[in-house]
């Protein structure tokens, strides 16, 4: 039973990691936590749904188009809204993202109502791949894990090995110096948002079969992803990913052994505790401002 628990923890943990990663990418680039992450993923997932059903497309093209859509959504957020802010305090940006989130939530609810819908991925939830006495792994579980890990690796490669990744890191550390070295920091920021939106969308699509598609589906993953990011240290990409998996495990273990009802609460409580002792999360470094 324990192994089954671990497996499902890893699966849900990978979703949390993706969300946390998406959050961290934009936070690293701009010091803004993007609260709209969840709704952006949700709307993009709905787009997939529409493409699959009314559009009659098959899965992979639909996904491709969705990825494009969510990338543009990210660009939209940065370009149209965040850039125009007159008062660049962190609170203002947070409020803007919250506003964007509300708008997307309203639009989704308006268009699709709150009925739950089913989305059909090529990975079936019922088809079991591997089974023995203690464990049953479905195709969906495996696909989720594999895809999530693949995305995580891709992002790491992007950040560590490409010029774009280097540019992103440079902009995060010192915007003006980057500009003077020829890096178009605005575009880089917008691209960061776009990438993070795509990562979030992938999480959304992967989680839709489990929690069914409706406008409020991403509230919980968003919060958990956020919590995981905070747990791991928001500026450390490795940290947030580990945070995601850790959160999944803690949550499920607690839910199983102690109480299902309170498991979310406990997850948060643990996070608050961790923050008390290590305010920048488990893996982050704390920079002191020079006066």
């Amino acid at each position: 039973m324990l192994t089954q628990l671990i497996i499902s923890s890893l699966v849900i943990g990978s979703i949390y990691s993706l969300m946390a990663l998406a959050m961290s990418i934009t936070y690293k680039a701009s010091e803004i936590p993007n609260f709209a992450q969840g709704e952006m993923a949700m709307i993009s997932t709905f787009v997939t749904f529409v493409l699959l059903n009314s559009g009659g497309l098959s899965f992979y093209p639909a996904i491709l188009i969705t990825i494009l859509f969510s990338f543009c959504l990210g660009l939209l957020l940065e370009f149209v809204f965040l850039r125009r802010a007159k008062d660049p305090t962190p609170l203002s940006f947070i409020v803007i993202t919250i506003g964007f989130q509300l708008m997307l939530y309203g639009i989704a609810g308006w268009k699709w109502g709150s009925d739950q819908r089913q989305i059909n991925l090529p990975f079936s939830e019922s088809k079991v791949i591997f089974q023995n006495d203690s464990v049953a792994i479905t195709e969906l579980n495996l696909a989720t894990l594999v895809i999530a890990v693949a995305v995580l690796l891709l992002i790491f490669l992007l950040v560590q090995k490409t010029k774009l990744g280097l540019a992103m890191k440079a902009c995060q550390q010192n915007v003006n110096a980057s500009r003077m070295n020829g890096i178009p920091s605005d575009k880089i920021l917008a691209i960061s948002f776009g990438i993070s939106s795509v990562v979030g969308t992938i999480a959304g699509v992967l989680v839709a079969p489990i929690i069914t598609l409706d406008p409020s589906m991403m509230w919980d993953p968003l919060l958990k992803g956020f919590a995981a990011a905070v747990l791991g240290g928001m500026k450390s990409l490795y940290g947030v990913v580990i945070g995601g998996f850790l959160l999944g495990i803690i949550e499920n273990l607690f839910g199983f052994y102690i109480s299902i009802e309170f498991k979310s609460v406990v997850a948060f409580a643990i996070i608050v505790l961790v923050l008390y002792f290590k305010p920048s999360g488990l893996f982050d470094k704390h920079y002191v401002r020079k006066v």
Binding site: E31, V95, L102, V272
Partner: protein
Amino acid sequence: MAVNVIVALGLNLLVGNTGQISLGHAGFVAIGAYASVMCMNAGVPFLGAFLISGLIAALFGFLLGIPSLKLEGPYLAIATLAFGLAVSILIGRMEFLGGRMGMSVPKIDLQWTGLKYDLSLYYLIIIITIICVIMTRNIVKSRIGRAFQAIRDSDIAAEAIGINLSKYKLYSFGLSAFLAGLAGSLLALYLGFITPNSTMFTFIGSINFLAIVVLGGLGFVAGSVMGAIVMTFLNLQLENVVDLPLIGPLLYQFSETFMSTTGIANVSWVFTGLILILVILFEPLGLYGLWIRAKIYWMRWPF
């Protein structure tokens, strides 16, 4: 609506004046409401229950404030978020608080006013609100309020001036929770029946309160009042969007072609979100800022 004002006052102290973030203020409102009902059920007269619920909420405010001393920005946002969620979940689960069904609120004795119950309750709430507004305004203009703002603007300088950051941050959390708790107590009285899913007690409620504070103008007491009034008005109107004179039918037609009509109530979210964004983009000082601009414009008029 007046209740919104009180919560807004409290939240504004914390967010607008001290520069902290709270995404879980609805939790304090809920605590205040439930504490008040429990006190009243135990026979405590309303005024006592009212104040006690404020104090209990303030206590939780202090407790939440302690981890906040070391946190900033998104970390603090998460911690407060967690708090708000925890409160709403716990309230729903605990049996002696009425569980999912909620609790009913005893009525208080207002016969001495000679007016109908509803009307006298209304006046009572208004009077209490006015008192809160005055007291909050005084606090903001005083040494304490200045200290809060100092923490917001430059905590390093604030410390160099002699302001004990921990003490004042805790004060700020406690005070803003106190106000929210009072509001919760009044809310309970007004609604007559409280359930864990009330909008005002959940995450959506917290966001709503934040919207009010931002809309009105962060850091300005008058702003909180204006914001609460406007937002409440908007919410009421938007609940029945279709009935609005011009926009209603337009929206309805638009919905029929592009969207589903059942979900039309969700338009209110779109509007709220849009308002938040527009305020930050164009007038960070909120309604109060607009008011000031209008005043200046009129003062300079012939020129």
